[in-house]
Symmetry: C2
Subunit: 258 residues, 2 copies
């Protein structure tokens, strides 16, 4: 009989961090985050999971493209016509894609170079100046690792850092917060080997903790003008120093939907 048992928290808080300024390329997100914490009367605690929207990380890393600079290929123009998109957006989506999974209605579903299967390669024209588009961070794992190191050095607390985006889902309408980079807590919590209430050993359950944390954070972030691009999920007692969002991505051959 296995004696594996994972302690879960029974009380969490989700704290929205308001008051960050509009982020520009080269901004020091860590410094701006601590300024905002102070304005919010918040201080960090050990085990805080800090969720940054991918958008502010992208903006700080200069992943904003002026559409007027985009040269379009024949393929981008063809897909743009099929989906009624701006050909320059279609081109950016192709640039970010490792593989085009599906082109249908007004959506282009691709696998990004990071391995995320999502609509429009996560490229977004909201909350950015007219005529510009925001790409996903180039290497969100490295972004969150860096932020984690900087935040831990400055606070003296052991924290985790995640970055979230809003993705649509197969079979269900609407978007939810989803994780595109995680450092410090598991992407997938492997619960195989634990016993249920009847002593039966769990066989298949892996819980996508990082995605649940980003979904929870999304409840305080909102999508638009609220200006809450960072949230703290407080009280999780899960640590995994070497976590990586790649743990949640299927190998292509294991993916039933491709």
């Amino acid at each position: 009989m296995s004696e594996k048992k994972i302690e879960v928290a029974d009380h969490l808080e989700i704290l929205g961090v308001k008051g960050l300024p509009e982020i520009r390329e080269g901004d020091d997100l860590t410094a701006l985050f601590f300024d905002a914490l102070e304005k919010n009367g918040l201080s960090l605690e050990d085990d805080d999971a800090i969720v940054f929207t991918s958008k502010i990380i992208s903006k700080s890393e200069g992943r904003v493209v002026a559409l007027s600079d985009v040269k379009t290929s024949a393929e981008a123009e063809r897909i743009a016509e099929e989906t009624e998109k701006d050909p320059r957006i279609a081109q950016l989506i192709l640039n970010e894609a490792k593989e085009v999974v599906r082109v249908e209605q007004n959506i282009i579903i691709v696998e990004t170079k990071h391995g995320f299967v999502c609509a429009n390669a996560g490229i977004d024209e909201s909350n950015v100046e007219e005529g510009k588009a925001v790409l996903l961070p180039e290497d969100p794992q490295s972004s969150v690792s860096r932020l984690k190191n900087e935040i831990e050095a400055r606070s003296g607390k052991e924290v985790s850092v995640l970055t979230s985006d809003s993705f649509g889902r197969a079979f269900r309408d609407g978007v939810t917060g989803i994780c595109v980079g995680v450092s410090g807590i598991p992407a997938l919590l492997d619960r195989r080997g634990e016993q249920d209430r009847f002593g039966r050993i769990a066989r298949i359950t892996k819980e996508a903790i990082a995605d649940e944390v980003c979904a929870a954070a999304n409840l305080v972030m909102g999508e638009f003008s609220e200006g809450i691009p960072v949230a703290i999920v407080r009280g999780l007692r899960l640590k995994q120093p070497d976590s990586d969002i790649k743990d949640v991505l299927f190998h292509r051959e294991a993916d039933l939907f491709r």
Copy 2:
């Protein structure tokens, strides 16, 4: 220009409600929930979103089947062989299905009679006696409406009630908490018409609030022996009296993945 603006909460709490007994058919879940609240030193507040696992609702409604009572058809036996499942489980999955979407590896993906596209029709053999399986509630919308009415009558507070399950996802490994019934807060929060930080009008974003609430609740519920089958998400300021989880289900023809 639209003046639509939805206020989101900037501070939420997620409270696990421990100490419910093993649930049997005919048990009064509302009474057991209030007993457990008292043991946990908790009382309800207006706007609390109360998430019950579908499993305890199913158990209270007698949606537990003894496998020895299941007669298998030739189709169930064929699918069982293909997926290396117990033919009686395959039969239960077929019984609960409106349509078989995909049979692959050891998974049978169906659309349930409720309209949920999920693996194995949500049928689960964990946390139940050996030789038994738990089906999803027959009409989870009616279950949560009833619980909402009972809980509001007893507490005098305006609450919402949701019921959650753990579903796998396309393109990502692991399960997350997902909503199979919601009464009192929106299933989908339609944010079209709101302005972003640059005054641009949002075009396509609908946020699957009920699924995010169930994902958040799952962080304190865990999957196994913790015995936390109910959680309260406190602080959401979203109300929709006539909400229905069907709002999140695609019409078949709008579903890119079928």
